[in-house]
């Protein structure tokens, strides 16, 4: 296929080049190369948090943009997320050890009555790829499950997904219940799913409708940044 002599020795690259190479390797879903590069950066004294944000999250951000723009499709994104996961596997314990700041924690699941979960899984993967911690409740979640998980996990974000026009309204039930319990404003509520749109997201009282997994990541980051600013 490609000329072998074009192959790079990752350890010979300087830091800047190596990080750019990692962005490319994430884009191409090359898990082994990502794993190798993470080890190299750790050896060179990078903090786990810098590796996460500057190399992995930034690389996935680029993947997200091309996914949003219809240049990459689900298979490529799954490959990239797989490579990201391999890098995260190395970093995760180190991040905890070093007390690195958390990007945020998200509870996610399809709503009661809805068993379609490919979109939800994709969002979970991309969010993980972006450095968020994900509590995946799976499919068919009644309101209690969402709220229990939000409290138990001390989460920041609730992500709800519905693929059916008949299950979309249940998102409103969940949000209404949160309002009743006086906890709505404690969480960022993001909604998504093929038949939804921005108008619907607003109408039911969510913080935002996210058109696809890439948009979900960007939106979550934006809201988390605002939240941190508020908290000072």
């Amino acid at each position: 296929m490609s000329d072998q002599e074009d192959d790079l020795i990752l350890d010979e690259l300087d830091d800047g080049e190596l990080v750019l190479q990692m962005h490319d390797d994430l884009y191409d879903g090359m898990a082994d190369e990502i794993s190798e590069a993470v080890h190299i950066l750790l050896k060179r004294g990078w903090t786990p948090y810098d590796i996460l944000t500057k190399a992995l999250v930034e690389g996935m951000r680029i993947v997200g943009i091309d996914f949003r723009d219809g240049i990459l499709f689900v298979p490529e994104v799954l490959l990239a997320a797989g490579a990201m996961k391999k890098g995260m596997h190395i970093l995760k314990p180190l991040l905890v050890e070093t007390g690195a700041p958390q990007l945020g924690k998200m509870v996610i699941g399809t709503v009661k009555g809805d068993i379609h979960d490919i979109g939800k899984n994709l969002v979970a993967m991309m969010m993980e790829g972006a450095g968020f911690e994900i509590i995946d409740l799976g499919i068919n979640n009644p309101v209690e499950d969402y709220i229990d998980a939000l409290k138990r996990e001390d989460a920041d974000i609730l992500g709800m997904s519905a693929l059916l026009t008949t299950t979309m309204p249940y998102m409103k039930t969940v949000i209404d219940t949160m309002v009743e319990q006086g906890i709505r404003d404690d969480y960022i509520v993001l909604v998504g799913g093929a038949p939804l749109n921005e108008e619907f997201g607003k109408a039911i009282g969510s913080d935002a409708y996210c058109r696809d997994a890439a948009v979900a990541v960007e939106t979550a980051k934006e809201f988390m940044a605002r939240k941190h600013n508020q908290a000072g």
């Binding site: 219809g70 499709f73 490919i118 039911i204």
Partner: protein, 334 residues
């Protein structure tokens, strides 16, 4: 010769049916409840669903078995009832079709497994073939004239189903859903689908697009098929517009009149089997049949004419030909 082949030989176009889910929800199906159970528990509702299509002029209707693979039924702990539920779906169809007083094709609906194929996901080719074959065998046993694969996104899944149908020596039709920047969720273009279909060992009687985004996008996909010279009948089953949330209810914005225009435009674009998908009710089908019968064939509509009649596209391009933006140039491998 199977009934669908015979009708395709005799007629320029055939009309398929509309929505299954939308109709069943109107009959009281609860969200999350698998419609396939109604083949046994509420057979009269399923008969009414089929009868609605027949009475509206459909030449083909799809059975209530979209989620009838073990992979989908497992979510309701009904994975052991694949044969029974699919057989019943087709038997009820046979009953309605045989009383129609004209030839009506019972098409055994087969939807996606909902799983992602290896190596990206857990589903192996062999498992997929086995699941499709199990479902298809039930449908054929119940008297389906053809098998009808629909709403597929991954080429691997389309091919696995084709192999399963070949194992049963059953005639089939297979459509995919083009809902992401003109391509399927997994990135397949209309042109690539034609190439794939032409390479299948047991070619379908027809292939095409169903569901997806709105009628405009679907038309562009059909024109993409036609441009690739498929040499096989093209199927078009588009949604009745786009779902809107109005006063707490979901409503598809496509009127019967709009679906009538869509039907004629899609026929003029090269489709020979024309139906609707989500949101398409009997009233839409009646308008489609009438428009198809009363409007003489014309030239394929231009993009501008499509937009003017049916509304805008969801993306600038249909993803065929050169990509609108090239993938990023990478350092290591080009």
């Amino acid at each position: 010769m199977d009934l669908l082949s015979r009708l395709l030989n005799e007629r320029d176009w055939l009309m398929a049916d509309g929505a299954t889910g939308t109709n069943l929800f109107n009959m009281g199906l609860e969200a999350g409840e698998p419609p396939e159970l109604w083949n046994i528990d509420q057979p009269d509702n399923i008969r009414a669903l089929y009868q609605g299509a027949v009475d509206s002029g459909s030449d083909i209707f799809l059975t209530n078995s979209f989620g009838g693979t073990a992979a989908r039924l497992k979510l309701h702990n009904a994975q052991d009832r694949v044969r029974e539920l699919n057989k019943a779906a087709a038997e009820l169809g046979r009953e309605v079709a045989d009383k129609a007083g004209r030839p009506v094709v019972v098409a055994g609906s087969v939807g996606p497994t909902g799983e992602i194929f290896e190596p990206l996901g857990p589903l192996s080719h062999a498992e997929a073939v086995e699941m499709f074959e199990e479902q298809a065998a039930g449908l054929m046993e119940g008297g389906a004239d053809v098998l009808w694969l629909e709403t597929i996104s991954a080429p691997e899944e389309y091919k696995a189903a084709a192999e399963a149908f070949a194992n049963l020596n059953a005639p089939w039709v297979g459509t995919m859903s083009f809902d992401t920047a003109g391509r399927t969720m997994m990135g397949m273009t209309s042109a690539a689908m034609v190439e794939m279909v032409q390479g299948v060992e047991n070619p379908p009687l027809g292939f095409g697009a169903n569901c997806g985004v709105g009628a405009s996008d679907l038309l562009r996909t059909i024109q993409g098929f036609k441009a690739a010279n498929p040499g096989l009948p093209i199927v078009a089953k588009g949604n009745a517009g786009i779902p809107k949330f109005v006063h707490g209810h979901i409503h598809y914005d496509g009127t019967p009149e709009l679906m009538g225009k869509y039907a004629v435009m899609v026929r003029d674009s090269g489709a020979r089997i024309i139906g609707g998908c989500c949101g398409t009710m009997p009233a839409h089908l009646v308008a489609m049949r009438k428009a198809l019968e009363e409007t003489p064939a014309g030239p394929a509509p231009s993009d501008e004419e499509i937009v003017a009649a049916l509304g805008g596209f969801s993306s600038d391009s249909d993803g065929t030909g050169d990509a609108p933006v090239a993938k990023r140039v990478r350092r290591r491998r080009k």
